[in-house]
Structures are given as structure tokens and as C-alpha cells.
Amino acid sequence: MTKVTLAKALNMGLRKAMETDPKVLIMGEDVGKLGGVFRITDGLQKDFGEDRVIDSPLAESGILGTAVGLAMRGFRPVCEIQFDGFVYPAYDQIVSQVAKLHFRTQGAIKMPMVIRIPFGGGIGAVEHHSESPEAQFAHTPGLKVVSCSNPVDGYWMIQQAIAHDDPVVFLEPKRQYHADKADLDEEATPPPLFSSKVLRTGSDATLLGYGPMVKTLMKAAEAAAGEGRSLEVIDLRTLSPLDMGPVFESVRKTGRAVVAHEAHTNLGMGAEIAARITEQCFYSLQAPVLRVGGFDTPYPPARIEEEYLPDLDRVLDAVDRTMGF
């Protein structure tokens, strides 16, 4: 057992994946000597060489487009997008090529590719460095989308994503990279990649989230417990496919749900989750599923980002409102 941060866990997971399978490549801007601007690929080029840890020209479409060709040649590219806001130049390659090649070729071509994106806000950065683009990828058939919320998940999920034969958009909550340490047991058996997880059981309402929001939700549940309110918390972990089984079960029990994310509320994951819960648990619902999200504005300047981001208070406010129905 070692105590590791999310950043370290991801680094260890990548290293493990590269050791396990010589076809695994890492590509991106500054992933080599620098080890990436967040140091997630630290030391990998030194140990695996420039052929496997590839500093790319500064062109995101180029990174993803060449990764497609490498995948066709039998490699398993892990592409790093430096910040969430810089994935859009590669958007066409991702949604029209990466996502569709398996379908287009009726399975003749697989796209075992991981697109790592440090995402979300709260780090005091300038524009384009705090985006939450998950809904756009989850809306795209052919892609799978996951997000880890803690070091242990980070370690396992990145390996599972790399080993998986479909393209996986892997969202890393950058605010959590160095936030906490957790005990990592490298001998453990991880849960399946595409599964959600009940982190805390409760009976009054269900809190749903992923990535950077999970910590906030746990704190909210903690705070609510102090006031005698029992909240269940689910870390969704996988955004496409969604693993709604545990969610439905929970909501059928609590009758109430609040879903939270940093992404804009309008057409964010919360909309889909609310719609599905309502479709499947209609008679169990005591209140509409409420959403706590980033506002429907561009991400604001850093000095007011904490106002923009859903926090413990806004989550509890939503819980209050749902209890009021």
C-alpha cells in the first residue's frame, strides 16, 4: 500500500499499461521531457523512449488524426490533450473518425484509443483551461466516456481504459490532481470500468456526480448528516455508457435525486440523468430530479470561478428544495 495523489496514480497506471503492452503509446504536447504540464507522464519518455512517448507538433487534430492511423497499424495510442479547452481543434477527428470507424467498417477496424483530458475548473486559470466538455462526447455514439474522482480509481481506470478496445474519453479532474492522497493497493481487484459506485448510503435523497464533484458531494452528505439528513452519494464514474442500475435502485429508495456537475446545466449530463430517472422511476419520485451545474454562461474569470462552480452550499440548497416538494 502506498499513499498517492491522483497525478501520481495516473502516472503509475500509465507506466503499468506501457509495461504490460508494448503497443501502448503516449502522444501529445510536452508529454516527453517535460512529462506534460501536469507531469502525468513524468519519466515515461526517459524509460520507454521517444518512439513510445511522442512529443507531437502543436496541433490537436494532428495528434488525434495520426493516432487513428497508429491504431489502424495495431498500436494503442493514449493521447493527452493539454487542457479541456484545447480539445476542440481535434473535435472533427474525434466525432467523425475515432467515434465512427468501428461502425463504418462494421467492426473491421477497432479504435483502442484513450483521449486523456484534464478537465474542470477551480485552479485559478485563464480562459479555456477550465472547461467541462463531457456532454458533447457522451452525446456522440461510438465514444465511451469516463471520469475518475480519486487516486485509486485513477490508477485502475486508466489501465482499464487503455486495455479496452473502444475509444475512451478519459476525463481527469485536474483540480484533484494533487488535492488528496489515498492508499493504493496495487494487488486489489478493481471494479469494472463502466460501473457506477455507491460511495455512501442514505435514505432521504440521492446525490449524483462524477469527477471533481464527488468530493463536494461527499462533503455535502457529511454536512447534511450533521443536520440529521441522510444522503446517498453515487459516483457515476462512467458517463457513456451510463450505469444507471445503482442510480435507479437508489432513487426508488430515496424518492429524490440531485445531480451535480461543473458543466453548463443546459444539456449537461444532468439533463440526461434526470430524464432517465424520471422515465424509469416515475412513480417513486417525490420531487423532480434537480440539477446543480455550472451556469449557462462561458466559464468566468478566475476571481469568480468559485461562485460559478457548484459547491457544497448549492448542493445542499438543491437538497432543501427537493425535500420541499
Binding site: L70, Q93, A108, P112
Partner: protein
Amino acid sequence: MTEYLVPRAEGDVQYVQLLTPEGYRVEHPDYAFDGGEDEAGTIRGFYRDMVLTRRIDTESTALQRHGELGIWAQLLGQEAAQIGSGRALRPQDYVFPTYREHGVAYCRGLDPLRLLGLFRGVDQGAWDPHVNNFANYTIVIGAQTLHATGYAMGVQRDGAVGTGDADRDTAVVAYFGDGASSQGDVNESFIFAASYNAPVVFFCQNNQWAISEPIERQSRIPLYQRARGFGFPGVRVDGNDVLAVHAVTQAALQYAREGNGPTLVEAYTYRMGAHTTTDDPTRYRLTDEVEYWKLRDPIARVKVYLTRNGLADHDFFEDVEREAEELGARLRDGCRALPDPSPLSIFDQVYAEQTPELEAQRDEFAAYLDSFEGAH
């Protein structure tokens, strides 16, 4: 826009040519045609390839007119560019085409019926690319040039370049059009290929038009010169001269296989037909231009050359014609016989590993379809 009134390629176009439109062989200081031991046989082969390719094209155009295809992207006039380059490939080489490389597909041994499947709408061009080392047609302009470059980077990583082993050293070809040269992706592929010195040949068929837009909208200098800006060689070849295209492509491929990196080949040719069967070129170009290019037909000049030099007789031409007829008949029958996909199949091909939620959606839809069965 009178500036396009004068047929392009008149006099001032500098390119590699080895067989004139009148069917005379000419010399070039840098490139010579290598037809192997039986040169005449090779050239007869090219002739046959081009005729059959043209037949695939005209037959498919006709099939579209008869409502059997939704659309067809014609290659009429580009046969030499495609056969000359396609026949320069070795088995281990790998091709990334656009949506118009029917002649290259044919060279790679892909059954033309597979192409028809795409244009008929029974599939999306779902051949296994690894069978013929011929990637799937790509419709988003330029995207495939990056795939080719990445594949070539993979070839490097597999040590399949510069070994001197003729059966191992591998080149990759990215086909694209003159219009495509404006896309960011194409230029990024030049950058990646140059940066990693990847074994890729960028083969641009400059057919003078991107739908209704003339090449002048995309570049004010000859396209092959684009390569100069990225630090690798570019060469323009008479794209209607199958011998020159073969020679130039072979050299570029060999250059790549030996580990010298990318080359841009601009095959200067002309799209004799419409952009696709839904296009109406009379809206934007003059018949004069088409007439001019008719005199430079890629097949006619080979026929003249073979005939004049007694390298092929009447029987040969008749045989090829008969073969083309047979091919046409096979396409007509085969096309009509292409089975429609099952609606449920679309759920099965989205992922390598099916998701439970999509499986559920499939089941729901299956039940819904069944409900109609019952109703009838």
C-alpha cells in the same frame, strides 16, 4: 470569372511527362518508366486496368441514373493518375483513399461491388482495410491524410522502413484532391510527416475543381510547391500520362520506403465528369475546357502508342472490351443483388464491446418492430 476561360495546362504547365497526348514516348532527365522485363505487357496491363476502371465508373454512373445507387463520385479522366500510382504499390504498402479512388481500389484487388455498397447505401464502405491494405473511403475532406501519416509513423515503429528488404520496407499513400489541400488536416499531416520523417507519399489528384471551385481559389502557386513550405520534395506529373505517374509514384514510394520521408506528388489531371452524379458542372465551367481536356484523354494516348508501335493487336483490344462488358454485367447484377442491411444490425456495430444501454435500446426497438409483425 473569365480568368478560367483559357484552358489550364496550356504550355506553361511544367510537369513530368513520358507519354504525350499524341502517344509518343518522351524522355525526362529525372524519371524513367520502369515496365519490368515485359514492358509492352506492362503497358498493355495499364491499358486494360484503365479501361476496366473506366467501365466501373461509367457503369456505376448508369446504375445511379437507374436509381440503383444513391450517388456516385465519378473518376472519368483520372484513370491514369489512379492506375499509374496504384500499380506502383507493393503488397505491403498501404493506401488511404478519398471517395473517388475506384481505380486504386481496383489495383489493390478490392471488389468494385464493395464500392457500390457505399454508394448504394447498404453500408458505409465497410471493407476490411487490412485485407487489401486499402483503407476505407473517407468523406470528410482531408481527414485521411492524418490517418496515413499516423499509419506511416506506425510503420516506422515496426521497423518496416529503411531495412533494404524489398518485401518489408513499406510506404503509405494518402490520396487527396486539390480542394482538400486547403484543409487544416492536410497541412497538419505535412507537418507531422516532415517532423517524424514518416514514409508517406501525399498523392494529390489536382483535377482542377473542388465541386464548383477552381484550383485558383485554393492556391495561387502550383500545388506541388506546397511541399517546399514544409521541407520535403514536391513534384508535378502529367496525371493523364500513366507511364509518368507510375514512374514518379514509384520513385516517391521507394524514397519513403528507404527512410527518406515524405513526398508530395501532384498529378495534374482533370475531372471530365460532374463532381458526383448530383452535380451540374455546366453551372460553373465551360465546355471549351472540357473539350480541351478530351484531347488529353489518358486511355486514348496509350491505345495510340500501343497501336502505332504494334505492341497490341485488334484481338487484344477486343479482349479488353469483352472483359469490360463482363465486368459491367457483373456490376449491374451484383449491385441489384446487394442485400439491404437489417435495421437491428446498426446497434451491433457501434462498439467493439457492446454496452448494456445500447443493447437495451436494441431490444426495445426489436420488440417495437415485432409489434408490427404481429399487427399484420
